[in-house]
Subunit: 597 residues, 2 copies
Amino acid sequence: MPTYRAPVEDTLFLLFDVLGYERHANLPGFADAGRETVEAILAEAARLCERTLLPTNQAGDLAGCALGPDGSVKTPEGFRDAYRAFAEGGWIGLSAAPEHGGQGLPHLLTSVVNEYASSANMAFAMYPGLTQGAIAALTLHGSEEQKRTYLPRMVSGEWTGTMNLTEPHCGTDLGLIRTRATPAGDGSYRITGSKIFISSGEHDLTENIVHLVLARVDGAPAGTKGISLFVAPKRLVNPDGSLGARNGISCGSIERKMGIHGNATCVMNYDGAAAWLVGEENRGLAAMFTMMNEARLGVGVQGLSQSEVAYQNAAAYAKERLQGRALTGAKEPSRPADPIIVHPDVRRTLLSIKAFNEAARALILWTALKGDVARVSEDEREKREGDDHMSLMTPVIKGVITDVGFDNAVMAQQMFGGHGYIAEWGMEQFVRDARIAMIYEGANGVQAMDLVGRKLPRDGGRAVMAFFKEVDGFLADNAEDGALKPFTGPLRRAREDLQKATMWFMANAMGKPDNAGAGATDYMHLFGLVGLGYMWGRIAKAAVAKRAEGNGVAERMDAKLVAGRFFMERTLPETATRLARIAAGADTVMALPADAF
Amino acid sequence: MPTYRAPVEDTLFLLFDVLGYERHANLPGFADAGRETVEAILAEAARLCERTLLPTNQAGDLAGCALGPDGSVKTPEGFRDAYRAFAEGGWIGLSAAPEHGGQGLPHLLTSVVNEYASSANMAFAMYPGLTQGAIAALTLHGSEEQKRTYLPRMVSGEWTGTMNLTEPHCGTDLGLIRTRATPAGDGSYRITGSKIFISSGEHDLTENIVHLVLARVDGAPAGTKGISLFVAPKRLVNPDGSLGARNGISCGSIERKMGIHGNATCVMNYDGAAAWLVGEENRGLAAMFTMMNEARLGVGVQGLSQSEVAYQNAAAYAKERLQGRALTGAKEPSRPADPIIVHPDVRRTLLSIKAFNEAARALILWTALKGDVARVSEDEREKREGDDHMSLMTPVIKGVITDVGFDNAVMAQQMFGGHGYIAEWGMEQFVRDARIAMIYEGANGVQAMDLVGRKLPRDGGRAVMAFFKEVDGFLADNAEDGALKPFTGPLRRAREDLQKATMWFMANAMGKPDNAGAGATDYMHLFGLVGLGYMWGRIAKAAVAKRAEGNGVAERMDAKLVAGRFFMERTLPETATRLARIAAGADTVMALPADAF
């Protein structure tokens, strides 16, 4: 059975040594969570994930969810107990507002906990994870009554939440939504229609489920401008807060799918279900979009989570599995063979994953920190910069970390040879689970178009220019630092490739948008490489400084510097290929008639 | 349910217009299979695969194989009928020797049929596929009596065959094999031990199964020099050819695994099983190696097969699925949305797969053709060149085409959005099935080491020099051809990268083998890119010539030229990154102590 140890030490190093968490102590939330508190929280989260969630992962994959004849869904054995522990530990509302029962701590810390929880059991972590998304939506857009009715019981974990967007004929293109909402005359609506791919849509973890639903009010304009957001509970809530009758909402079927078997993916049928408008009529998409950055960041975290747990197991296996001899002569001649970690190709594989994971974690935490600043700072400029950063980096994190996280899970599986293909060893589950993160919350091709078509040009390119400025500042500040040369040199070259690609779009894509579309995915990955390379620059700087402190951290810091050099030498040069593809433009891509495919 | 249409037209174009199949008409086998015969054979194979095998694929994945309490294995419903049709059509023995009931046709054609069969149902195609491997081993190394006893009934499909190599503690490193063979005094042996990961090890398709088993004769030298090859039938064969008692061979369990559910992956227990030595004692590994090139080529074919069937379904879906509008304005304004094939990122994805598949098929057929020449030519030089080519290209084809074939299946799945993750649509099965090809018959890291450590330096680099010479000849011959400039220019640059990488190994890896190990996987992929780029050069030349013929082939040839340009513009530039990684050497890769992973 796979093992997992939450990377608490690495998280703390990133927060306190690399990202300057403590500089934000003036902000609400941060003030209540100094270093000691953060350490205690992460240690507790680690314990819960390692001891309570992890043991349910493989069994949950094997058992899956079961739909009863009455439309009820049974989650895998052990999920109910694990959910109770997770909810009672206060983890769902860690960053929710205190007035709704939350702890009001930085969202950054929820990101960390969600990484650990997803590594331990991704399918399970989706139940509280979707609830957190629904909490965010209601907090931002719900009426006071809606907040009072739903939020305390979602924050406590007594009820869970879902998002109902997709329909059979519309995924990315939500303008095609057909689900109807008819005013009931009493301020409520009756919703009718069918939604698909609803994660956590039905289950036996809680008595009630709070569905957020996109639907079209009778007579609304066509397309995306006629979509409204509703809240529709599985069981109606009486004025005194007790549970009333079942609403007209039922789970029609659950999907048989590649992975995340422990999470029920439901077809949800709305049959005149009572629902209440969240925010303004016909402004439902805008309401969804305000929480989309956070949701997409959360999916990026899932990509990292599978890459991390797959790495840990592959590294352990490589140190145990005896097979063949080192190219330079037997390393353990008294044993029948050397452990496979002596082989350069095995180390190359492991370092490739390790070097990605550490920088990806940094990029996520950096961005989550900016998100918190944007949310709670009272300094308008800092707030705007945080928001710019969050908007720009969200599609990069979602697209790149889930793409590469999946590739990494595949590489980690490969370390096991034939055993990696066998369910018992658990590695193939990581691959299957990681795969969904590339698809949901906007398929990665959509992320790439969001980056190139919306985030880059927004506000005259303000966000991307700020990013370049920050990287350039780092390069200038450290130009003379010999210890950082292996980092600043490659970062400078990669940054130049990114600038060339950006200029190429400015020159060629304005008048011919297909040039943007044809280069979007490569641009997203190029951007991700530079972002990760910049993170390695900052990690390396912090590691060099910390190494000088002594305190027995030298070995750990040396390992970081080696992983960082590996990234600079082996991963970052990919920017050149990405740039070449972008500059190839759209002509060949668009040349064929559809029939020729 | 997924569809599949065997790419017969493309195969014929490659064989007759690109690879000069007809120039080999003087060779045995080829003489009996001129163009008309080949066309008829491929059309018949296509029909069988599309109509009989394809319908069993998804159902077989869902049902899987079942182990009975008596150790019997039930294959999925429909497999028995499909197997009967496949055997009765003579497909197993298409290239087997006529004296054993085979048709004696070029192995090249078996490669083609296996591509089609694997696209239609990979798990199924492994039953006859492994039989073909066992036939090849017995043909090369079996005694006359063994050939008489087993071959006719394997060629006819009455019995199937298996390969028993792996044990729990030994996969790549066969020197660790523990299974024992004790002489019985009558010329036979008694085998005791346990083998794992035995594909097709037990099933209900035939009455008998012929196991080829690696074991160590009592008192044999340790390591790889003490391993012998045996034949051990599931049911003993009486002198008159009738079936006798059950042998001491049983299936202990079958694996629950990521994919190829329709093929039983068995733990095979040998409990004093009667077995007969194949070839010489202690020469078992050498005997296995002589057939390994062919087996590995076959796995490369599987990689292509999943890439092809996944592509076909993704292309069809992209033409049907309505979602969003073209960046340049609605293409089908009368419909609620445009088909997603209008989007450049969708076309980029599809072209990336298409451009790979067509060149990969060419590389496989070219190599299979060389393999036939090596096998049957009486011209010593031609024979040697064929063998050189086959040896050099086998690890490249196995490693690169299965790696990229898997990536392509993932990309094709991505085209379906959420539907790609749902079993019903069939795309996720292609991904799961394709995954095994990167692992078995030597994990791809082992292929890379085989290429760099053995195939490159062999005979003073004769094979790789011949490859460079051929590519250079093509470049020189076509230097002035304007229509081929988009192909020759990029191919020349990629070839230079390959040469630099080869020189780097010569300069840096002889004295420090870790430099070879650390660069091996990137070198394998770099080699593959140049091989595929060269194939595109030859395909383009043939397409330009054929285009001039008219005959209504212009559109098809134009599509090839576009796909080829895409490969040159977007895929081939990856050689630069591969070279940079190789030249980074082993220092960073080997710097960390094992505990730091």
